[in-house]
C-alpha cells in the first residue's frame, strides 16, 4: 500500500477539523436553543421508543404510508445518503493518510461489488432529485405552493447540492477508469461516463481525478455545515425526534399540574387559601399558563421545529387549511423555528435574552390561525417524523384563554355555560335527565 503523506493531507486534516468545529458549534447552539424550552419527561417506555424509531425513522414507515410517489423517491435518496456515505469513510481515511482507495486491496472483489452498488444508488438519487425539482418548480405539487422566499430556495439548494455531489462521485470514477495502472477497470456507471474523458492525457486525468475527489469531499463538508441553517437538518433530528414521540393516544391532551393543584385546593374543604407557604418548599418561579413565546413551549416542541423538513403533509391534510382558512400546521412549525432563531441571535448578541417586544403569538402566529384548529390530529398523523403542531396550537390557546381571557367570544359563552350549568349550552342541569320521560 502506497502512502503519500504531504501538504495535501495537512490541508485535508485542517478542512476536516474546521468542518467539524463549525458544525459542532452550530449544533451546540441548536441544542442550547432546544433547552430554552420547558423540561418534559419523554424517556418512559424506552423499548417502545427504540422500536418506534426503528420503524418510523430508520424504516421510513410513515414516509411511504400515504404519499406513494414522494415516499418512494424519498426512500431512494435516503438509502443513497445512508449507504453511499459508507464510501465517505474511505475518502476520509485516504485524505488523512494519503492512501488511495484503501479498502480496495483489503476487500478485493467485494469492493467492486460495493462501488457498483453505490454507483447504481447514485443514479437513483440523481433521478429522485430531478423528480423532486420537477415537483417543486415545474409541475408544482399543491403543498409546495405555500413556500416562498428562503424556504423555497432552501428546498432547491439541497436538491442541487445533492445532484452536484453525485455527479462528482461518478466523474471521479470515470477519471479513474481512464487512468492507467491504478487497478481500476471501471465500475458500473462511471465506466459509461469514461469515454467523455477519453480525450484527456494521463496527467490531465490525474488532475481531473484530484479535482473531482476534492470537490466531492469538500462539498460534503460544506453541505454538513449548511444543515444547521436548513430544513435539511431533519436528516439528523428525525431520529431523536421520533424517539421522543408521544406514545399516549393521540387524543389525550396533557393535564396541567399547576391548574390541578389549584383546583384540588379549591375543592378541599380543609385547605386554607391564606396559609403561609411551606418555608421548606422549593421556591419556583411562577410560570405563565400556556405559551405566548417559544420559551413557554417544551423542549420536545422546540425539537419538533428543528426536525421539520417543511414537506407540508400536515398542511395538506389539515381540514381548516384545505377549506381555505389561514391555519397551516407547517407554518406553525416554521414560525416556531424562525422565532427561536430570532431568540437565539438575541442571546448571541446580548449574552442572555433581552426583551425584544416580540413573541411567537401575534408577531408570527395570529390568533385567527389558532382558533381555526379542530384538534382532529390529521397533522400529527400525517407527519412522517412525529412532529406535533397541534400541541403548540393548544398551548397557545391556553395562554389566550387563561392569561389574556381572550377566547373567541362564542367560546366564552360555551365555557360560561359549562361553569354555570355543566353543559356547553344554557340548559339547566336539573333538566339533564328529561329525555328519559320524553
Amino acid at each position: 500500500m502506497e502512502i503519500h503523506f504531504g501538504l495535501a493531507n495537512i490541508i485535508f486534516i485542517l478542512s476536516l477539523a474546521a468542518a467539524g468545529y463549525f458544525f459542532g458549534k452550530n449544533f451546540s447552539k441548536i441544542w442550547r436553543n432546544i433547552n430554552l424550552g420547558k423540561d418534559i419527561n419523554r424517556s418512559d417506555r424506552p423499548q417502545e421508543r427504540w422500536s418506534v424509531m426503528a420503524k418510523v425513522a430508520l424504516g421510513q414507515s410513515k414516509m411511504v404510508k400515504r404519499k406513494k410517489v414522494a415516499g418512494f423517491f424519498h426512500v431512494l435518496i435516503y438509502l443513497g445518503f445512508i449507504l453511499i456515505n459508507i464510501e465517505v469513510l474511505e475518502i476520509i481515511i485516504d485524505g488523512i493518510f494519503g492512501t488511495h482507495r484503501i479498502f480496495m486491496p483489503i476487500l478485493g472483489s467485494l469492493y467492486d461489488i460495493a462501488i457498483n452498488f453505490f454507483e447504481f444508488l447514485a443514479v437513483l438519487v440523481l433521478i429522485a432529485c430531478v423528480v423532486f425539482l420537477y415537483r417543486r418548480n415545474v409541475n408544482t405539487v399543491d403543498r409546495f405552493k405555500e413556500l416562498k422566499g428562503w424556504s423555497k430556495k432552501d428546498g432547491n439548494n439541497i436538491l442541487f447540492i445533492e445532484i452536484v455531489l453525485m455527479l462528482a462521485l461518478l466523474f471521479l470514477g470515470a477519471a479513474e477508469a481512464n487512468i492507467e495502472g491504478n487497478g481500476v477497470e471501471g465500475w458500473l456507471v462511471s465506466s459509461q461516463l469514461a469515454p467523455l474523458l477519453a480525450g484527456l492525457d494521463q496527467s490531465s486525468l490525474h488532475i481531473f481525478e484530484r479535482v473531482a475527489w476534492w470537490f466531492h469531499i469538500v462539498g460534503i463538508l460544506l453541505f454538513l455545515n449548511y444543515l444547521p441553517f436548513s430544513k435539511h437538518f431533519h436528516v439528523i433530528m428525525a431520529f431523536p425526534n421520533v424517539w421522543h414521540s408521544k406514545l399516549e393516544p393521540a387524543g389525550q391532551f396533557t393535564n396541567m399540574e399547576s391548574v390541578k393543584k389549584e383546583v384540588e385546593m379549591m375543592m378541599d374543604p380543609s385547605a386554607d387559601p391564606f396559609a403561609a407557604p411551606d418555608p421548606n418548599a422549593p421556591v419556583e418561579e411562577p410560570s405563565r399558563f400556556g405559551a405566548k413565546d417559544v420559551m413557554d413551549l417544551n423542549r420536545i416542541q422546540l425539537m419538533n421545529a428543528y426536525s421539520c423538513t417543511e414537506c407540508g403533509r400536515c398542511t395538506d391534510s389539515c381540514p381548516a387549511n384545505q377549506t381555505g382558512k389561514k391555519l397551516s400546521p407547517r407554518k406553525i412549525m416554521m414560525d416556531t423555528r424562525d422565532r427561536l432563531e430570532e431568540v437565539s441571535a438575541n442571546i448571541d448578541k446580548n449574552g442572555e435574552f433581552q426583551e425584544d417586544g416580540r413573541s411567537l403569538l401575534d408577531d408570527f402566529i395570529t390568533r385567527e390561525e389558532l382558533w381555526a384548529c379542530t384538534t382532529c390530529n390529521a397533522c400529527t398523523e400525517a407527519c412522517p417524523v412525529a412532529i406535533d403542531p397541534m400541541s403548540i396550537i393548544v398551548e397557545m390557546r391556553r395562554y389566550l384563554v387563561m392569561e389574556e381571557s381572550a377566547a373567541n367570544p362564542s367560546l366564552n359563552t360555551m365555557m360560561t355555560n359549562i361553569e354555570n350549568n355543566a353543559a356547553p349550552w344554557a340548559y339547566a342541569q336539573a333538566d339533564r335527565a328529561n329525555w328519559i320521560n320524553e
Partner: protein, 263 residues
C-alpha cells in the same frame, strides 16, 4: 322514552344497594340536543333488549370538560373532571359506555391521571361485544344490501385508533360498506372538534362539513353512518346543503342497529 323501558339512575340503584354492569354516560349532546337524544334512546333500547344491567347518572352527570379543554380553558376542564370523578368514584363505577367519542376520549385518557380509573368503551365497541357474546343478534332488515358510508369521528379514529368496531357493525347489517376517499386514519374531520362546534368557523373558501359531505356523496350512499353526535349534526347540515337533501339519512350506528332490529 316509552314507558316499557326503565332507565334507572345511579342514585336509585345505590338506594337499592345495587351496582349496574355498566354506566351509560349520556353526555351533553345526548341529554339536551333533540337530534342526539334519538341516538341516546336508540342505544337504551339496545341495552334493554340485550338485558344489560345499566344506569345513568341523570342530573348528577355534568360535562366532561372536553370542549373547555380543547378551547384552552384548563380550569373549567379541571373543575368538571374532578367533580365527575368524585361522583363516579362515590358510586364505585367500574365500567362506562358512552355514545360520544369526545366524552369517551376524555374519560378514558385524561381522567386516569386525576384519579378516575374506569374501563371506558365507546358504544360501537360495546355493541360489538354484545354481538360477540351473542346477547343480541342482527339480521340486516331494512339495511340489507344498502350502500352505507361511514364517517370516522376524529376522537374515535385517529385519537384512539378505533376504526374497525363501527365498520363491523355495518357489515353485520348485511349492508355494503362504501369507503370515502379519505377514511380511517386519513379521514377528514367534520369540522366540529376542538370546540369548533360552539363557534362560527374562521373565514375561508368553504365550511369543513360541506367538504366532508361532498366526499360522502361521491360514494353515492343510501345512508351516512356516524358514531358521534357532533359529526351527526355536521353531516346532517351538510346534506341539507346538497342535492340529496331529504333523501339521505344521517344515522348513528346505534340507531341503525335499533332500526334493523325493529326495536
Amino acid at each position: 322514552m316509552e314507558t316499557t323501558i326503565k332507565v334507572p339512575t345511579m342514585a336509585e340503584m345505590a338506594a337499592e344497594n345495587k351496582l349496574p354492569e355498566v354506566l351509560f354516560w349520556v353526555g351533553c349532546a345526548g341529554s339536551f340536543d333533540d337530534r342526539a337524544k334519538k341516538i341516546t334512546k336508540a342505544f337504551v333500547k339496545i341495552l334493554h333488549h340485550a338485558n344489560v344491567s345499566f344506569a345513568v347518572l341523570g342530573t348528577e352527570e355534568s360535562c366532561t370538560g372536553d370542549p373547555a379543554k380543547r378551547a384552552g380553558n384548563e380550569f373549567v376542564f379541571m373543575m368538571q373532571a374532578m367533580q365527575n370523578i368524585e361522583v363516579l368514584n362515590a358510586y364505585s363505577i367500574k365500567k362506562i359506555v358512552t355514545t360520544c367519542p369526545h366524552c369517551f376520549n376524555t374519560l378514558a385518557n385524561e381522567y386516569p391521571e386525576l384519579g378516575g380509573n374506569f374501563e371506558v368503551v365507546h358504544h360501537t365497541t360495546f355493541i360489538n361485544q354484545l354481538l360477540k357474546e351473542e346477547r343480541i343478534s342482527i339480521e340486516g332488515g331494512s339495511f340489507k344490501g344498502k350502500k352505507i358510508t361511514f364517517h370516522d369521528p376524529c376522537y374515535l379514529g385517529r385519537a384512539n385508533g378505533i376504526y374497525e368496531a363501527p365498520r363491523e357493525l355495518i357489515l353485520k347489517l348485511d349492508a355494503e360498506l362504501v369507503e370515502m376517499r379519505r377514511c380511517k386514519s386519513n379521514a377528514l374531520c367534520c369540522g366540529a372538534g376542538g370546540a369548533q362546534m360552539f363557534k362560527e368557523p374562521e373565514a375561508g373558501k368553504k365550511d369543513i362539513n360541506i367538504e366532508r359531505t361532498e366526499e360522502a356523496l361521491e360514494t353515492k350512499p343510501d345512508f351516512i353512518a356516524a358514531a358521534c353526535p357532533f359529526c351527526n349534526t355536521m353531516m346532517t347540515d351538510g346534506v341539507k346543503n346538497s342535492e340529496r337533501e331529504g333523501n339521505l339519512p344521517v344515522l348513528d350506528l346505534a340507531e341503525m342497529i335499533a332500526q334493523a332490529k325493529d326495536l
